[in-house]
């Protein structure tokens, strides 16, 4: 099995054990129902788990219509973020099983966009796929040109965690190639044909720059820590900076664009290179110390920053072709 296929299998099989508790205000039975234990695929989404969870609680619910949402320690969970990313981001120290609370009432529509179950999750997936396609290819034609039934099948393969079905459908998607000199085989997306635009070719026909879809979630803490268990709990999403921004990199001969290079392009204020610092002294003579990146997690793995970025992208991206990166930083001190 090629390295790339092996990595994809690893990513698709990744799962988080969840222990789901019904919110106490919604327990209408006595005794209260025990929590539901569910294994959630990392690449999946919380709304897709509802059919598995609901049977545990349906007899305990008060009368009325369902509007389902989840929270972790009081923080409402954004249903359109893949489950594995939520876990990597919100649990500095991995909590297994991950204890979540489910609500069937009182949807916090002032903070969460509405969710109509699987349809919403699908819409979100297809939109993300289009955006990723635009970034990689310079247009979304490959997604738009896919037949409705192929799009459906692609979504179904993701929903069911069916990597074989997904792999069979990928050639129909014709997503451009993200070059990777470190895989023994080309990535499983369409072979050579690039659909245009996204990667610039210079006069000699060499690929110059590539744009990679990245979603970066940055959690900043104010104080340094020795152990992850010392990281304070998160209170609100306002503590997290979300960046939906492509990484652009120049392919230079003999030079390797690493994960560190990618992180520095996204978060220049956390760059380790002191020589680059704005280094200005404040009016009162004090100097800002730069913030520090403590942790970079992708698909649950804490990665060394020296790893070639193209390897990271090709092997650890999600099915919609986005690379989701959770970062824990110590904020700059003044």
């Amino acid at each position: 099995m090629a390295a790339n296929e092996e990595a994809m299998k690893y990513v698709w099989e990744g799962a988080i054990p969840l222990q789901i508790h019904l919110h106490k205000s919604e327990v209408a039975s006595h005794p209260a129902p025990p929590p539901a234990l569910v294994l959630a695929p990392r690449i999946g989404y919380l709304p897709l788990l509802v059919p598995l969870i609901k049977p545990y609680f349906k007899d305990s619910l008060p009368p009325g219509e369902d509007s389902i949402w989840f929270d972790y320690k009081g923080v409402p969970l954004k249903w359109y973020i893949p489950t594995g990313v939520l876990f990597d981001l919100l649990c500095a120290e991995s909590e297994r099983p991950w204890n979540l609370t489910i609500h069937f009432r009182g949807y916090p529509s002032n903070v969460l966009i509405p969710c109509e179950g699987e349809d919403s999750a699908k819409w979100n997936f297809v939109n993300s796929l289009k955006e990723a396609a635009y970034i990689i290819n310079g247009n979304c034609k490959n997604v738009m040109n896919m037949s409705q039934s192929d799009q459906e099948d692609l979504w179904t393969s993701v929903m069911n965690g069916d990597l074989d079905a997904y792999t069979r459908l990928l050639p129909k998607l014709k997503m451009g190639n993200i070059e990777d000199e470190f895989s023994r085989k080309e990535s499983l997306s369409s072979p050579v044909s690039r659909q245009g635009g996204g990667t610039e070719i210079d006069v000699a026909g060499q690929v110059k720059t590539a744009r990679i879809p990245v979603r970066l979630y940055v959690r900043s803490v104010s104080q340094n820590f020795e152990n992850l268990e010392d990281v304070p709990e998160i209170d609100t999403w306002d503590e997290i900076s979300y960046m939906n921004r492509p990484v652009e990199f120049l392919k230079e001969k003999g030079k390797c664009f690493t994960l560190r290079d990618a992180m520095e392009s996204l978060l220049p204020e956390y760059s380790g290179d002191r020589a680059q610092t704005s280094g200005e002294e404040e009016a009162d003579g004090s100097q800002e110390t730069r913030g520090e990146i403590k942790l970079v997690r992708i698909q649950g793995i804490e990665l060394k920053l020296e790893i070639p970025f193209s390897w990271v992208v090709n092997n650890l991206m999600n099915p919609e072709f986005y690379l989701h990166i959770s970062v824990l930083v110590i904020g700059p001190q003044r």
Partner: protein, 223 residues
């Protein structure tokens, strides 16, 4: 400016270009569009180190008075602005209308999309008690021509999405193929078919997009 790539290219704009265009847009608006309050540039705080400022444009608390009779006519869209500088509660006493008219407040943000390399318009509506307005209610406040455009053609959509920075649901206007019609605008407006100068990029963009939400810009801004 980076010689390897123009700031405005093919109807798209770079992040640096957006920052320049935003300032120019806000300046021209302030000078020529006196019936409205000015747009504010909201910097993204964690990105202002290293002198690389990023941010978005904000125009808030625009009052649209909707009468009970029907949707606002395009020409007579009665738009006034609450000039209040304070960010928090809405000053109810500023409104002077008869009891039957309900005032709807609108906030507009022009945010740069790094993925598509074009601006996006986010907006939301709320009543005087701060309660968000649904899309159905908002559509009644839009010029009637927009509503038919939205319903019938496929060139523009309004979807409810999370604001990229504020962790709240907002509405986003997706004009399809923004870069294509911006290219068309630049080709038709200049004699040699050149790119739109960066200072006019957002003005041109808004001259089209703003109309969908009933915000018109005076011609003087386009010079």
């Amino acid at each position: 400016m980076d010689s390897a790539g123009e700031v405005v290219n093919d109807g798209k704009i770079t992040l640096e270009g957006f920052t320049v265009a935003a300032r120019a847009f806000a300046d021209k608006w302030k000078r020529h569009n006196l019936s409205f309050p000015p747009w504010s540039w909201i910097p993204l705080i964690n990105r202002t180190m290293l002198k690389k400022e990023e941010g978005y444009l904000s125009l808030e608390k625009i009052i649209i008075l909707s009468s009970l009779e029907g949707s606002a006519e395009e020409e007579s869209l009665d738009v006034t602005a609450d000039w209040s500088e304070k960010e928090e509660s809405i000053d109810h006493t500023v409104l002077v209308q008869n009891e039957e008219d309900e005032a709807h407040y609108y906030d507009y943000h022009i945010v740069y999309s790094a993925s598509y390399m074009v601006p996006m318009l986010y907006f939301r509506g709320y009543s005087s008690d701060g309660k968000p307005l649904s899309l159905d209610v908002i559509k009644r406040d839009l010029p009637s021509s927009s509503v038919s455009l939205l319903l019938e053609s496929k060139w523009t959509f309004i979807t409810q999405e999370e604001h990229p920075y504020l962790n709240r649901p907002w509405f986003k206007l997706h004009p399809c193929g923004t870069e294509e019609w911006i290219k068309l605008l630049s080709e038709s407006s200049s004699s040699d078919g050149c790119q739109i100068p960066v200072e006019l990029y957002l003005v041109s963009w808004f001259s089209v997009v703003g109309q969908v939400v009933g915000l018109k810009i005076p011609r003087e801004m386009l010079i």
